[in-house]
Symmetry: C2
């Protein structure tokens, strides 16, 4: 079940990004998302099935059987983790900018008083 997996590890593949996107707008059967991805990326059904498996094993999708179909539902955590990571970086970046600003202000003040 490879549960220590970071969302960014899983999303480092365009096919899986597309799958997440498709499932973000609603539950769909494996066949539905597969057909889309197969045609968009020109890959086979088993190839898509393996990507779905990666998403499953990372815990980012849940599956429920419905007749002979298997309905995939996205787990919100994949989106949350992505946002969290972006926020981490953004926070550091802003702190950096703040630090730069105060540094510049200090410089100006010193130059003024040095007059």
């Amino acid at each position: 079940m490879l549960r220590g997996m970071h969302a960014l590890d899983v999303l480092g593949d365009p096919v899986r990004r597309r799958l997440v996107e498709l499932l973000a707008s609603g539950d769909q059967s494996a066949g539905e998302v597969s057909r889309v991805v197969e045609s968009e990326f020109g890959i086979s059904q088993p190839a898509v099935a393996k990507h779905l498996r990666v998403l499953r094993e990372a815990g980012f999708v849940r599956v429920r059987p419905e007749g002979s179909r298997r309905i995939y539902r996205l787990d919100e955590r994949v989106i949350t983790q992505l946002q969290d990571q972006a926020d981490r970086y953004r926070t550091l970046w802003n702190q950096r900018l703040d630090a730069l600003e105060t540094e510049i202000a200090r410089g100006k003040r010193e130059r003024r008083t040095a007059q």
Copy 2:
């Protein structure tokens, strides 16, 4: 090079995620970030140099020489792209929830009037 590269492709590696994090809080020389990452991940200097190269070729960092050091500066776009992607997913997800809600409301209404 390889400018069509998505931020999520680049960030699909823990070492590069850490490098971005380090550089998000301020410009640093290759040596500085390398020493941190080398010890944290137990890898060699050339290994880190290759990851820095990936970041460079994706256009997510800029380098300026300073004496014999090379100072790396993060390009904000990597953070922006990450946020954008998270927002894409989040928007779809919210639309999905909205759709579900109105669907439920419609169901309730119909069940009521069917009485």
